[in-house]
């Protein structure tokens, strides 16, 4: 059926076009022979084709344009009085003899155009007459087109300022009056179209109606083009009249389009100066009108205007643009109860954008907007509409982008309250945005208060939110998030130790709430951040003597102890151990023996109680040994205790090779290659010998277990240790001992059960080459190495 309809329409259009062409042909002939009577007759017949009711607006437009072209030729003929011999005044009457109204009006407008040009009557009078006579067409479509024709032919004939038609009896006021009247009537006709037809074709009709909107809007465009419409006149006449029509027509399609039209066609400064009036109309529109888009566009335009030049900013202040917009939005939201949250938020986003552009210095405005948004959202605990969520994210991102500085956003008290309305996922995304913003701009957050606010903002990342489903978390995302938080902690910095300490305390307070999954990510950052402070304090040690100083390394270390303890309960013992060692080292640098001892104790306790995995144990032991080796703060007693512990644990590792390696590593505990480091050659030798024993045992065990001894790698490694200490001047390590070891290795290699291994062979070979090299180098070292007989 629809297809038939379309086909029929094509047919009707074709018939209409044929009718126009046919009559136009005779009209042309009449024009050529200067026969006015015939010309009028055929032009009227031609125009009668426009009386059809069968065409859709689109097709009707086609027909109209063809008639329009023909009318131009007729107008040229009318202009030339010499051709037809009738004065324009008589012509104006003559065309009104036409029996049908539509052709009569088209002809009247055409002659009217000539009439105005001839200046035999004031433009004002002719225009007034034409616009009045057009009342006769009450059919919406035909009426719109005939009035559109009137608008078209009159455009260049308005008695505008500076126009040739302006004079005593035709002022710009008349021009405005004319256009306004035509506009009003056209809009009425346009609105009336909605009331036609049954419901099932309604949608189609609305679409068709929409196609006609530019005919109506054109009038506003003409108004904006009139030179004489200055701000004063716009304010006093044009805008109130246009708005009156917009409000009174009570049609959502029209209201939406026209409001948008007003905003687009008139200059920005006019809008600025008439904000109150324009905004005042908004709450009066139909509830179904998409006001948010309208207002958003207005604010966008004003924002752009503000951005265009700094000179215009005072205007904005003068008219209190923000206050007015803010009020208007409030009212609109209030009156349109059914407006979905997304609509309201979109409005706030626009307002915020506007504020940021126009009043970048007025943070209170930004906060106000956010506050209003919070108020609006207060009756919905969490947003579940994805579009609304998107808008909230936009709302929150806007200040960040503008200021490139989260610090500014932190001063906005409503900022976190808005964030609260986001669902957990989005909240996290937003928190990430904030962190990324900080990272990107290298923003330093330098007070504890700000840190407090910041953590409030990103709490979605810091701790589990109520009701969030932990299982659904994506592991990778989670890692990313937590890594970001860890990075963020490094951005919280203040040169002032006291404040820095506060910051650290604040961060601690928040991060500790993070639970077992988060702490491993965040605590290291926190610890290192604290250690940085410690080192800073140590750097300026001379200055801090007074008891009053709040930030002393001791205090910080106390704090650190607690932090690490907390971490160990998570449990993440390995990490805790590492951090303890770090702290111990820092304490060492600060000459705090007790503290350092304490940390070591902690490390050992962790090792004993928490670290059960053998691999982890190996790593831990090496870490402990490595750290302990560098400590110089301990007295003999403490040191003995610790080294004893370390060697003890080393020897008790599970795998023999691991034991061996740990033990020979322990040898370094007794030989610190510093000026006044410990140099206990005897115990070094003991360690190495013990390592050798273990290596032997390992070899034998391998023999028994697998029927082949392992490679000689362990021996070569021990040989290297021997060489190291030999070189460093440990008297206990003799060339003979080394020589013995080399022989042992060679024997092992040649034993039947030895497994050939290229890696250990190469290792041995290069070790031998080193010895050779040292021997040939000569000097003291050369002589020393001479004692090793190969």
């Amino acid at each position: 059926m629809m297809i038939n309809e379309a086909e029929d329409e094509e047919k009707w259009l074709a018939e209409g076009i044929a009718g126009i062409q046919h009559n136009a042909f005779y009209m042309h002939r009449a024009l050529d022979s200067n026969n006015l009577r015939e010309a009028l007759k055929y032009s009227a017949q031609m125009l009668s084709e426009l009386r059809t009711s069968k065409l859709s607006p689109h097709k009707y437009y086609d027909l109209y344009m063809r008639a329009f072209d023909e009318l131009r030729k007729l107008e040229i003929f009318f202009k030339d009085e010499g051709k037809h011999g009738v004065s324009v005044v008589d012509l104006y009457e003559l065309v009104q003899h036409a029996g049908n109204i539509l052709p009569r009006l088209y002809l009247l407008c055409t002659v009217g155009s000539v009439y105005i040009k001839s200046k035999e009557a004031p433009a004002k009078e002719v225009l007034k007459d034409l616009v009045e006579m057009c009342h006769a067409v009450q059919h919406p479509l035909r009426g719109l087109f005939v009035r559109s024709y009137l608008a078209q032919i009159s455009r260049d004939k308005l008695p505008d300022i500076g126009s040739e038609y302006e004079g005593d009896d035709g002022t710009v006021m008349d021009a405005v009056e004319f256009v306004l009247q035509n506009f009003t009537e056209m809009n009425k006709l346009w609105v009336r179209m909605q009331h036609q037809g049954p419901g099932r074709v309604r949608e189609k009709q609305e679409k068709e109606r929409n196609e006609l909107r530019d005919l109506v809007g054109k009038n506003l465009h003409v108004l904006s083009q009139i030179e004489g419409v200055d701000l004063e006149m716009y304010k006093e006449t044009v805008l109130p009249r246009v708005l009156e029509q917009v409000v009174n027509c009570k049609d959502d399609l029209s209201q939406y389009y026209l409001m948008d039209c007003i905003i687009q066609v008139f200059p920005d400064e006019y809008h600025l100066q008439t904000l109150e009036t324009l905004l005042g109309a908004c709450p009066q529109l139909q509830p179904t009108v998409d006001i948010k888009t309208v207002l958003s566009r207005l604010m966008d335009r004003l924002s752009n205007y503000a951005a265009s030049s700094a000179d215009v900013l005072p205007e904005f202040l003068q008219v209190e643009a923000f206050g007015k917009l803010s009020n208007a939005i409030g009212k609109v939201i209030e009156t349109q109860v059914d407006m979905p949250a997304v609509g309201a938020i979109t409005l706030y986003v626009s307002l915020l954008t506007f504020t940021l552009r126009v009043h970048p210095d007025r943070l209170d405005y930004v906060d106000l907007v956010l506050g209003a948004c919070v108020k609006k959202l207060s009756n919905i605990p969490k947003l579940d509409d994805s579009r609304a969520t998107k808008q909230v994210v936009a709302l929150l991102s806007a200040p960040l982008e503008k200021y490139n500085d989260i610090v500014t956003a932190l001063t906005l008290s409503n900022y976190p309250r808005v964030m609260d309305h986001l669902d957990n996922g989005t909240n996290k995304v937003m928190a990430m945005v904030i962190i990324q913003s900080i990272m990107k701009n290298n923003t330093c957050i330098s007070t504890a208060d700000k840190v407090e606010v910041l953590f409030e903002l990103i709490k979605g990342l810091i701790k589990d939110m109520d009701g969030s489903d932990v299982d659904e978390l994506d592991e990778d995302d989670f890692k990313d998030e937590q890594n970001s938080v860890a990075r963020l902690i490094h951005m919280l910095y203040n040169n002032e130790p006291e404040e820095m300490l506060k910051i650290i305390c604040t961060v601690r307070k928040h991060t500790m709430a993070g639970g077992p999954k988060r702490l491993p990510f965040t605590v290291p950052s926190l610890v290192f951040s604290a250690l940085r402070l410690v080192r800073q304090l140590q750097g300026q040690e001379g200055d801090i003597v007074g008891e009053e100083v709040p930030a002393t390394p001791k205090k910080i270390f106390q704090l650190l102890t607690q932090i690490i303890e907390d971490l160990s309960t998570v449990p993440s013992p390995e990490l805790a151990l590492r951090l303890s060692l770090q702290c111990a080292e820092a304490a060492n640098d600060g000459d705090l023996e007790h503290v350092a001892y304490e940390f070591f104790t902690q490390a050992f306790v962790l090792y004993e109680e928490e670290i059960a995995d053998s691999k982890a144990q190996v790593t831990a032991i090496h870490l402990i040994v490595g750290t302990l080796q560098r400590m110089n703060v301990f007295g003999v007693e403490n040191r003995d205790t610790l080294t004893h512990k370390a060697t003890g644990y080393s020897a008790r590792l599970l795998k023999k090779p691991d034991q061996c390696r740990a033990v020979y590593a322990c040898s370094h505990l007794f030989w610190v290659d510093d000026q006044d480091g410990v140099k206990d050659g005897e115990r070094v030798l003991l360690c190495l010998k013990r390592a050798l024993r273990i290596a032997n045992a390992a070899q034998q065990m391998a023999n028994v277990a697998r029927g082949s001894s392992g490679p000689v790698t362990l021996f070569v490694e021990i040989l290297n240790k021997y060489l190291y200490f030999f070189e460093k001047g440990n008297q206990q390590i003799t060339g003979a001992a080394i020589q013995g070891l080399i022989e042992l290795i060679n024997t092992e290699k040649q034993s039947d059960s030895a497994t050939p291994d290229s890696a250990s062979d190469a290792f041995l070979a290069s070790t031998m080459r080193y010895i050779q090299f040292q021997r040939q180098k000569g000097g003291i070292m050369g002589e020393k190495f001479e004692s090793i007989k190969l």
Binding site: R51, E93, Q96, H97, G99, N100, I101, L102, R104, E132, M133, H135, A136, V137, Q138, H139, P140, R142, G143, R192
Partner: protein, 300 residues
């Protein structure tokens, strides 16, 4: 031609002419045979002066019992065919009985002739003025010649000319108020007016203004009424809504109107009406008819 001129040629030609024939205004007049001829135009109280020329056919003599010229104002009712009613009849004897051998002219004059009625050519009635020259003869039929002329009488603009304003409607369906600026119009006048729609509950399609002429002839039981629609002028296209006001501007000049004639010699009347017609989408017609008076204003 109702007058039997004769199967044979008349023995003479008669010419009737007016003294100011060249300068006098000529107007078209439709004859019985459908042809339009231009004839002289007079108004009441004018002197009708002219000359009758009788020209015998070469070599013939015309014997007669006298020659006279008559000025006749006749009303002819078509249903009463052949019956003329002369409301005006003036006679001038031009010649005493005798014989005519050669061309002879007779001047004549009717001074300040009372011609109260205008020439009119209607559907059922005709009012005409003629000059009739009769050459009376014995034994054979008289020789007669006619000359039509047209009379138009001018009226000064009426001192009172009220507008026509009226509210009409169908209850709960349609209420309109229309206004015509005047009740009396001259022939080249313009009807200006407005139609206000006070209530519209029916779907209108368009609206027209008709000019209707009502010609009534005869009297009593023998009255014949003939109504013609002279003009159909579309005023509005489409369906108006409440509160709309539609302008009326109708130029009368293109239409062939006559002044309103009221009870002309008790024989006939011609009246004019404006008929406002509203047509709805089902082509039902709603109308309201109002009489207007048409008068002839002296053209300057």
């Amino acid at each position: 031609m109702n007058y039997l001129v004769g199967a044979f040629k008349p023995p003479c030609n008669i010419f009737i002419s007016f003294a100011d024939g060249r300068s006098r205004k000529q107007v078209p007049l439709k004859k019985e045979n459908g042809k339009t001829v231009m004839v002289a135009l007079f108004q009441s109280q004018e002197n009708i002066v002219g000359e009758v020329v009788i020209e015998p056919i070469q070599g013939k003599k015309v014997e007669h019992n006298g020659v006279k010229i008559e000025l006749l104002g006749q009303i002819e009712l078509y249903f009463d065919r052949g019956n003329f009613y002369d409301f005006t009849s003036l006679v001038r004897e031009l010649d005493v009985p005798g014989e005519l051998y050669e061309r002879k002219s007779y001047p004549f004059e009717f001074s300040t002739v009372e011609m109260p009625y205008e020439s009119y050519n209607g559907v059922n009635v005709r009012l005409r003025y003629i000059l009739k020259v009769t050459i009376s003869r014995n034994y054979v039929s008289n020789i007669v010649e006619y000359q039509d002329f047209v009379v138009r009488n001018y009226t000064p603009p009426p001192s009172i000319n009220n507008s026509i304003k009226m509210e009409v409607g169908i209850e709960d369906c349609l209420h309109i108020e229309f206004e015509y600026s005047k009740s009396k119009y001259h022939l080249k006048d313009v009807i200006i007016g407005k139609i206000y729609f006070l209530l519209v509950r029916i779907k209108l399609k368009n609206m027209e203004l008709e000019i209707r002429r009502r010609e009534s002839t005869g009297s009593g039981p023998n009255t014949y009424v003939e109504t013609e629609t002279l003009a159909k002028f579309e005023l509005m296209d489409g369906a108006p809504v409440r509160g709309e006001s539609i302008p009326i501007r109708l130029f009368l000049s293109p239409y062939e109107l006559t002044p309103t004639y009221r009870n002309i010699n008790n024989k006939f009347s011609v009246k004019y009406y404006l008929n406002l017609v509203l047509v709805d989408e089902e082509d039902r017609r709603y109308f309201k008819q109002q009489e207007i008076t048409v008068y002839r204003l002296l053209e300057t």
